[in-house]
């Protein structure tokens, strides 16, 4: 048996002038909250971002009256294209301590001009929720 290896012409992404990028937010919202982008990352020219980890958590802290849809999302917008939600937690529970969480690894590549952001919204009346979300990635030469 003969083993073949593909000749490498470029170094691995983590060896191409890498810099770590991390975003993390934790907001306690009192009552209804408008759709808000808590953080945004746009890949600069000549660089790309390998997203290695994304996490979203949201939890109801106190009951609303009435409850509306409350959600936390990660949005991805390709350069020149429309916004796409790629990870979303949606809840309409009014139970205190109701909690949802998701953690995803190695999920996407952000090319120059592409954008990724964290968005949250609470359409309830009254009540409070906790939103925590973030991501970690490695930016490298394109």
């Amino acid at each position: 048996m003969r083993l073949y290896t593909t000749p490498k012409t470029t170094a691995a992404y983590y060896d191409r002038n890498p810099t770590s990028k991390a975003f993390n937010s934790k907001f306690t919202n009192g009552g209804p909250t408008a759709s808000t982008n808590r953080s945004t990352y746009t890949a600069p020219t000549g660089r790309k971002l390998h997203v290695e980890l994304i996490w979203l958590t949201h939890q109801r802290l106190t009951a609303a009256a009435p409850v509306g849809e409350w959600q936390a999302s990660i949005h991805f917008t390709p350069s020149g294209d429309g916004l796409q939600p790629i990870v979303t937690l949606i809840d309409e529970s009014n139970n205190v301590a109701e909690k949802e969480q998701i953690v995803i690894g190695h999920c996407t590549l952000v090319l120059p001009g592409d954008q990724i952001n964290q968005n949250e919204i609470d359409a309830s009346t009254g009540g409070t929720i906790l939103n925590a979300s973030g991501m970690k990635g490695t930016e490298f030469d394109a």
């Binding site: 907001f27 808000t36 953080s39 890949a43 916004l83 001009g113």
Partner: protein
């Protein structure tokens, strides 16, 4: 670097900061206005008129390596060049907001 930036209505309809990259800090929205602006954000029915009247701001963390001009503001031309692949941040129609 940590800066205070104005809140804007983004092209997607969400509220945020009109910069390519930023992270908001919790408990930093100003002016706190009952029924309109809490320390952590804007109420669901916050309107364009509220934006013009109250001019909310928020503390944001932005990249330390972004170019700064002689007035200690973000350098418009260099920032556009840095994000030239982005249809808006790379265009001549976009200017970065004034930071404090």
């Amino acid at each position: 670097m940590l800066k205070r930036a104005p809140i804007a209505k983004l092209p997607t309809g969400a509220w945020g900061v009109d910069l390519p990259t930023y992270q908001m800090l919790p408990e930093s929205f100003l002016p706190v206005t009952p029924g309109k602006i809490s320390p952590n954000g804007l109420v669901a029915n916050f309107s364009d008129a509220d934006l013009a009247l109250l001019a909310p701001t928020v503390l944001v963390e932005i990249p330390d390596n972004w170019p700064i001009d002689d007035t200690a503001q973000l350098h418009t031309e260099k920032l556009r060049a840095l994000y030239k692949e982005h249809p808006r941040f790379g265009s001549r129609n976009w200017r970065p907001p004034l930071l404090t």
